[in-house]
Amino acid sequence: MDEAADILDHRLHWRWALPALMLLLAFPLLASAADAEFYVTLASRILIFALAATSLNLILGFGGMVSFGHAAFMGVGAYAVAIAMQQGLGSAWVAWPLAMGVSALFALLIGAISLRTQGVYFIMITLAFAQMLYFLAISIKAYGGDDGLQMPARSAIGGGVDLTRDRDFYYVTLLLVVLSIYAVARLLNARFGHVLQAIRENETRMTAIGFPVYRYKLVAFTLAGAMAGLSGVLLANLGGFVSPSIMQWSQSGMLMVMAILGGVGYLYGGILGAVFFLLLEELLSHYTIHWQLGLGVVLLLVVLVAPNGLASLLKSRRIG
């Protein structure tokens, strides 16, 4: 591959990723050996947010679209799977793709309008749509309204996999995260990803060359919405509960903080950010009820010391 394309490619970095994956695979066994089963659920939660932050990173880091309403798509996915369950549709093979499809549809509609604006106005209009969905979820009493919606059971997969077992749930989540990262890497290294990153670098030029910029951005926005929907599906299953607060603007802000913290435009940025943020939160909250103070200090230090996020610290030179 020629060098010009190479700077837009994102390698999987097997040398680092494989040991990390091994560790993640062994984690439930280690946890049960240490009699700390609780941490398996925590790890599932972190993986779910890693997935959500990665989906945001796809549009934020590689497409230059600063969406401040990404939690809305997470919420749509979560509500879709919970409502499907309420209607008696418990099979993961049907309900999960369905929920992702619904999220993608919402992303398509919202993106189609929002992508007509730029910069700060794009940030605000995505926020506006997310707030609309948030208040919509509050107002529909049939789906729990303000109180939220209970999931009577976790989705069924079959084939000996029982999601109600925390360990099975963890492995399914891990599998989906790994597949998603792989898919994102393939997407970024393909022509589509190269065009998307080129649009981030210089939208005017890409328009002038003749690329349908708007369509490329909309497709990326929709894909990211579907991925966020999947994370919402998992989160609803994990907690057995969906409430409008999943779509609150602070949730969108948190996803953004995770992506920025990890490193926008780095393949593993979303994962790093989510892991760092949630582990720090967990750790600090053990020691003091005023853990947010410590979290704020650390975040401030990171943004001052590592302007491009944690992933940039791991690499001597920026790879795309």
Binding site: Q118, L127, Q131, L136, L261, L293, L295, V297, V303, P307
Partner: protein, 308 residues
């Protein structure tokens, strides 16, 4: 005068009151955004800190007016301190770093307030002299404190109009908002200007905190929900424009208040009372976001775009 007219007048005044308070918050935000090109998520924290300072000074002195005076000064000092110590480092950075950095400050402010004052809301009541309703004309009573809020809001707006359009400082602020580099090249001491704008914005937040504190609750996190509305206001008005912030704030204040009052009535005609009671408040909350989306659809840079 019929009951309907009285209701209408009352809601118009409520909307004006809310709108003017939004303007106090949005004015600082739009200037910081317009001049320094800085997204400041911690702006709501200044409002919170101001309200807390006013509440505790009022409690200590037993006098609301001392609380208001020193609280606003304290908020301004806090804002200036924040600008000089931390925020100054973020002007040259991209918007994403600013979001992360000011989010960190927001967390620290929230937790700092919780450390000092605790998690329970702090009491701040209206001053004795303004606690009752006044009769505006026969059959129409309105809370005197609400009238006071409207008066203060209008006074501050007028004062700002005078400063922005008639003084040298205001000229520099306008020049900075329209073209920062050019203003610097013409010899404006931007560093000092930035600190002053920031302190002024913080003082306005303090005033809003002192006005809204007795009406709403003085508690941790009070800044966040209203910050989002303030962002909506400045986007509708056009970032960097004080006039835009003023009209945007009045728009949002009146539409939001009207929605909350009249939506339930409208919905009650269309559906069962129970469904209306559930749906109407939520739909009313959506109105301002709909307004913003509509404005941006037709005027992608807000109603009064500043940058040329």
């Amino acid at each position: 005068m019929s009951l309907n007219h009285i209701l209408l007048l009352e809601q118009a005044l409520n909307g004006l009151q809310f709108g003017l308070m939004l303007f106090l918050l949005a004015a600082g935000l739009t200037l910081v955004f317009g001049i320094m090109d800085m997204i400041n998520l911690a702006h709501g924290s200044l409002y919170m800190v101001g309200a807390y300072l006013i509440a505790s000074i009022t409690a200590a002195t037993g006098n609301y007016w001392w609380g208001l005076l020193f609280g606003v000064m304290g908020a301004a000092a806090f804002g200036a301190l924040l600008e000089v110590s931390v925020l100054r480092r973020f002007y040259q950075r991209d918007h994403l770093s600013q979001v992360l950095g000011t989010f960190a400050i927001l967390l620290m402010c929230n937790e700092g307030v919780r450390l000092i004052w605790g998690s329970q809301p702090v009491a701040l009541s209206t001053p004795e002299s303004l606690s009752g309703p006044v009769q505006i004309f026969s059959g129409f009573y309105y809370a005197s404190f609400s009238l006071f809020i409207i008066g203060v809001g209008l006074l501050v707006a007028l004062l700002m109009y005078w400063v922005i359009t008639r003084t040298r400082l205001g000229m520099q602020v306008r020049a900075g908002a329209a073209n920062r580099e050019m203003a610097m090249a013409m010899g404006v001491d931007v560093q000092k200007l930035f600190t002053m704008v920031f302190a002024a914005g913080a003082a306005l937040c303090g005033v809003a905190g002192g006005m809204l504190g007795p009406v709403m609750a003085v508690q941790v996190g009070m800044g966040e929900s209203i910050l989002i509305v303030a962002f909506v206001v400045i986007v509708i008005g056009g970032i960097g424009s004080i006039r835009g912030a003023f009209l945007g704030a009045l728009f949002v204040g009146i539409i939001d208040t009207a929605g909350r009052t009249f939506m339930p009535m409208l919905f009650a005609q269309l559906m069962s009372p129970e469904a209306a009671a559930n749906a109407a408040p939520a739909v009313a909350s959506v109105l301002i976001y709909l307004l913003m989306a509509t404005v941006l659809f037709f005027k992608p840079r807000g109603l009064f775009p500043v940058h040329g």
